[in-house]
Structures are given as C-alpha cells and as structure tokens.
Symmetry: C2
Subunit: 415 residues, 2 copies
C-alpha cells in the first residue's frame, strides 16, 4: 500500500475519533501542542535550519527563504495563533436550524465536521500549525502535504504535535504528514475519493491550478487575487492615496494586495499625478494604458498579460476608463473573484458596483487588505476561497464544517 493510501485510511479512522471529542478535550489538545512546541523550540529551529541550508544550496530566492525560516519569534507567533484558536467558539454541534413538518416529523440541521481534509501547501511551515489548529478545533482529521523544501521542518513540527497528543490519550499519529514530496503524491492524494472529503491547496497560482485540475475529490480554490481599486469620478479625494498605498505597498506579496487601479477619466487629471508620485516614492513599478503613460515617462505600456497578472510584488497596472460600466467590464475580464474595491461617494454608482462585480468581497471606500479572517473577526483563517461553492472569502472554523439532517419520527411513513 502506498504511503498516501495508508495515511489517508488512517486519517479516516482518526476522523471518527475526533468526531466524538468534547470542546474541552479539543482545547486541552491545543494547549498540549502549544506547550510541546515551546518545549521543543531548539529541535524545531535546528530541523528548520537543515531546510534552510538545502534551500540556499538550491538557490531559493531570499523572499522564499524568509517565508521558510523559523526563528524564536516566529515559533512564538505560531504558538500564539493556537491560543487564539482555543478561544474561538467550537462550531461543531451547533443546531443551525430546525422545524416540524405537518406530519409531525421534526427536522434538525446540525453542524458536523467534514471528515478528512487534505492541505497541500508550499514552503511555509506556519501553515502546518494553522492547518493543525483549525482542523483539530473543527474535529476534522488532517492530511498535510507540504513542499519538499520544508520537509525537515514539517516532520519536526508534526512529530512534536503527535507526541503531545498521544500523551493526552489521542491515537498515535493523529496528524498525518505525507513525506513523499514527489509531484505524483499530490495526484494520489487528490483522487482519494471515499477517504479524503476535501482538499485545500494553499500557495501560488501554479500549485492551485495543478490541484484543481487533478482533483476528483471536492476542492476549494484559494488565494489567487488580482484585486482592483476603482477610483470613481465621485471619489472622496482624501480617501484615495491612503487606500491605494495601503492596498498596494503594505504587504505586496499577499493575495489581498491590490494589483491594478481603474480610474474614471473625469478624475484622472486631478488625482493621477499624486497617485503616481506616492507609488513611485514606495518604489512601485507602474504599467499603464496609453492615456496613463502621458502622466509619467517611467510608466511602461500595460498589455493584457499585465492586467491579468497577480504581481505579488511592488508593481501595479493602471487603466483609465470612460464610465463605471467600462470599469466593471475591465474588472470582470481580469479579476479573479477575490476582492474588488470602489472609492466613490455616489450612491447609484456604488450600488451598481456592489451588484455587478462578482467577487468574494466588495470593498467600499476601504482597503482591499481587509479581506482576511482576522480582519473579518473570524479569529483565524484557512485561506481565502475564490470560488463560489461551500465557502467564499475568508475561511474560518465554520467553513471547515458541513451539516447533517436528523429527522425524528414516531413511525411516520410517506404516503
């Protein structure tokens, strides 16, 4: 039996154990993991160092190396994120709704775990901790498939977690880590119908595409965000620069950063020079339409592929449009249904934007950076869903659950 099959079968068993746990026991487990991570700080950082050495040898970029690195402060952040999850309400067992039928049957809709969730991700060891914390609190078994470049870090983290759990009476290997980091193991994992109930890819567009195209188990697409800000002719001037800068430069590498500005022609002359200056001060590279180019000689001509690009970098594309309709058309063509913002004071224009833009989150007069589980008040998140099934936008604990109907009768039969 392959490693993937063995571990998926094991995860299915584990999911039955987790299904029966009380909130108290789950919180006890999260606390045990916290303590164990802190106690094993040295081991974890040492194992992470092995990955970093390999990464350096393999020529991994500085920014990716930075994402991979675990130091004391980052380990503490991981531990703290589990603290937050302990404090969140347990979604499992909630009676979502219930009603009585004319024949006396009582129908109850009860929130239950999904079962086994596979998480496929890249070289970010903090995802390991997020995934374990959120799936455990929502009583789901987890199968982790991290990248080969983080294998030592992940092995250490999962080892420490499983040891802590076993000490308080959990089954051996509660958290399953796929150590086969060959591409083939992803394919195996996402076709484990009957064992895996949901797969969530977390990472770049390439990884997500691979998983979505290969998966035969249900899958939630996350994270690709080609987010726009539409600056309407009726925009409040004082909002523009702060929102544009916050959305673009505060953290350009994340999915809710803005990648493109769409500006109404009637306001362009008034606002564009200041926008360009502000962005250039923050070393943002500019791509624009021909009209935009007239404002600054450093602006490169934007082609369709630039408008379609999720830069994840200090780059931005700009287009000047004739109307709100053209703005909506442009965003519909190039957007990824993640987050789209409008700056306007015009009621009708805002309503149109809210209704016609098809995205997980519509921001009115605020930064695209707010599409985030913490900022929404969910306490934690498992990624931002950019598809429309099951969960849309930030996925917190509730989004990792499903429901079952319980129909209670007294011998009723159907006529």
């Amino acid at each position: 039996m392959s490693e993937v099959l063995t571990k998926c079968k094991k995860a299915k068993e584990i999911s039955r154990f987790l299904n029966d746990l009380s909130t108290n026991k789950k919180n006890e487990a999260l606390l045990a993991i916290q303590n164990s991570l802190t106690a094993n700080e040295e081991l974890i950082i040492l194992e992470n160092y092995k990955d970093l050495l390999e990464a350096k040898k393999a020529g991994m970029s500085e920014s990716l190396q930075d994402r991979l690195a675990i130091n004391k402060a980052r380990l503490k952040a991981m531990v703290d994120s589990l603290k937050i999850i302990i404090d969140l309400a347990d979604p499992i067992g909630e009676i979502i709704e219930g009603w009585q039928r004319p024949n006396g049957l009582v129908i109850t809709k009860k929130r239950v775990p999904i079962g086994v969730i596979a998480i496929i991700y890249e070289a970010r060891p903090n995802v390991t901790i997020d995934a374990v914390g959120l799936t455990l609190k929502s009583s789901n078994a987890v199968v982790l498939r991290g990248s080969s470049s983080a294998i030592n870090s992940n092995r250490a983290l999962v080892g420490v977690i499983n040891e802590a759990l076993q000490k308080i009476g959990f089954p051996k290997d509660t958290v399953q880590l796929i150590e086969d980091t060959d591409r083939e193991s992803i394919k195996k994992l996402v076709t484990m119908n009957g064992l895996i109930d949901l797969v969530i890819p977390r990472g770049g567009a390439g990884l997500i595409k691979t998983v979505v195209e290969t998966a035969t188990v249900p899958c939630i697409e996350t994270g690709v965000g080609n987010c726009h800000i539409y600056i309407d002719k009726d925009a409040k001037l004082e909002y523009i620069i702060p929102i544009v800068l916050n959305s673009k430069v505060q953290r350009p590498s994340v999915c809710n950063a803005t990648e493109s500005l769409v500006i109404h022609k009637d306001i362009a002359e008034k606002v564009l020079p200041d926008i360009i200056n502000a962005l250039k001060e923050h070393k943002v590279e500019l791509y624009g339409c021909e009209v935009t180019q007239q404002y600054d000689q450093d602006i490169k001509l934007a082609k369709d592929e630039d408008y379609a690009m999720e830069f994840l970098d200090l780059k931005i594309s700009i287009i000047i449009v004739d109307s709100i309709d053209k703005a909506i058309e442009h965003i519909t063509k190039f957007g990824t249904k993640h987050t789209e913002a409008i700056i306007s004071e015009n009621y009708t224009t805002i309503e149109k934007f809210k209704n016609l833009i098809d995205a997980a989150a519509i921001m009115v007069n605020t930064s695209t950076r707010f599409t985030d589980g913490f900022e929404f008040g969910f306490g934690a998140e498992m990624g931002i869903s950019t598809q429309k099934m099951h969960a849309r936008g930030p996925m917190g604990l509730k989004e990792l659950t499903t429901y079952k109907y319980i129909v209670s009768g007294t011998g009723q039969i159907r006529s």
Copy 2:
C-alpha cells in the same frame, strides 16, 4: 468555436442579465413558461413521441421508456411544479448576516446567485423543467445537457421556454441546451472553468462517476443512495413492518428507497419471519447473510457486492449483527452517505447512531423515503447531495446560491 464553448459563453452573459432581475420579473417569467408549455402541449407530446419511437427501436427498457414519456397528465405535472416554484420565497438578496468591526467597517454577507449552472442528466424530460424553474428563480443561468434519447423532447421544451421568455423581454436563448449528445460534450462542459460555476449530474451511478472524475469545475455529487434501516433490539415492534415496506416497496427506483436491512440478533427471531413474509408478498427478492438464510429457503446468499449494491429495484439485502457497533460498522462500509434509518426506543443507541453515522440524513423511527425536498418543506429540489461540500441532502433554491461579502468603510486602512 465548439457548440459547448459558444453556449457556455452565452450563458455567462445571460447570468449577468438574470443577476439583475427582480423577484416579480422572475415570477412573471415562470408564469409565461407555464402558459407557453400548456399552449404548446401538442407540439411537445409529438416531439416526445419521436424520442419514444427511437427508444423502442433501440430496445430501451420499458421502465426507462416510461420515464421518458410525456403525456398530458405529465405535462400538467411539469406546469404545476413551476407554480410551486413561483410561490417559493426568492433566496436572492437575503442578508444572511452582518456585523460591525471595531474599526467601524460594516461587513454584510449577502446571498447571490452562483452564476452558470450546468445540469447533466438522463432521459427524463421533467428534469428539464425542474432545472429551468429552479435556476431561473435563483437567478442562475443554466446549461442543459440531456441524453441523446430525449433530444427531441428537450429541444421542444427549451424552444417553447425560450420563446416565452423572449416575448417578455428576456435575451434570445436564455436557456442553453447542448444538442451535441456525444460523450465528448460532457467532458468539454465540465472543464469549462471560468464559464461554468457549478455542474450537477443527475442520473445513475455511472453518469455521476463520469462527471465527478472528469470535472475540473466544482461539482455536486447527487443521488446514489444505498440506504439502510437498522432494526435495533429495542425497536418498537409496530413501527417495523410499515417503515420497512414504505422504505422498500413504495417506489423502489428512487435514491431514497431502502436497499438493506441491518437487524440486531436479539430481535431477529421475533421480527424477521414477519418482515420476510411482508417483503415476499410485495415480490421483493431477498439476499441475506447465512443466519438470515435459515429463516427462509428463498433467500439468496448475500455477497459483499450485494451489500454494496444500490438495487433501485424490488430487491433487498439483509444482515444480522451482534451489536449497534457492528451495525454502524456495516453501514459505514457499504453506505453512500445518503440516508440511514434506525428503529429503536433506546436513547443511548439512537444518540450513538445519530453521532457516528456519516450521512446527509439520519432517520429515527421513520421511513428513508422522507429525504426529499418536498417532504423537507423546500417546495422543490434539484437532487439530493451525497457529498459534504456546499450542500448536503435535498437541494432546494437556497442550495443554488452563494454569497458575497460587502465591506462598507469610510476610508479605513489596515494597520
């Protein structure tokens, strides 16, 4: 451009038109369709007759021919089903929840259409009407892919529908029917990422498997129901025969019919002879374990494939078990997560069954036949989901929607 691509693109446009419709306009459209179907009764029945002649020639089974046939009474039933949909509340526009964040942002979660839904189904023309009615009321565009054996019927129905819609100002070809009934067209349809937002297969296990394995767009698995009734040692005797007969023989060809009985050994002797007699009176063929076989010489030995079989016919499998745990184990092994019933008066046993059985619906002391959109009070249904993502169990109008977050600010930026 292939027919599938052209029609999917058109459907995407249509979905934008539908997104903007008021409830009144949608109900007007449903009424127009009703009237048009009634007015074109003769044409529809004639076109259906062509399909029936072909089906006869091709040697289609009597029961499938029966499913394919449209007569006056059946057309009236279709028209009536649209009447019910008119009376249902419009799910679109509902504010599901909303809250204010400490920084003053107001977050609203609003119910919106999914977009474009593809329905792939077999030779049942009534599905055409159900699909059009439910997707229209939920403001979704629909792409229909029926079977080749119903092509004349579907073409006639869709023609009549589109004519009615165009008369009241809808775009030409609001409802898209894929006329290419080659298998390849299914593959094309379910990989139209970016154009199709959801695919729902409705039909036998073979069709569903094909779609699930081929689809790269989100897909909802429906309808395979290997449903069990567990008769506990503490069952109320008077419930047993009515529930077993209703679940098995009232309509054996549907997914919520019972396919298997799991009987506790301590009650078998008392109840099994009567159950066997009652089932035999209704011409049900019996497959049983060796212990069951001792009760009647006509019982065939049930193999694993019999326990795994969704008969959809007057056949049933029986197994006698030692305990509730063995019953749960058996159901977990062979069930399809559709509907599982328990007959018992024992509180602890019932709670265990409710918690540990993983299915869309758990029936306590009632018939499995109640897992149904109408019986649940949804008014109509688009099938029974047997997976856990997005929708589980009967899918009514709400299950054909998603949501978007609208975040209203006054210039907030993230710190």
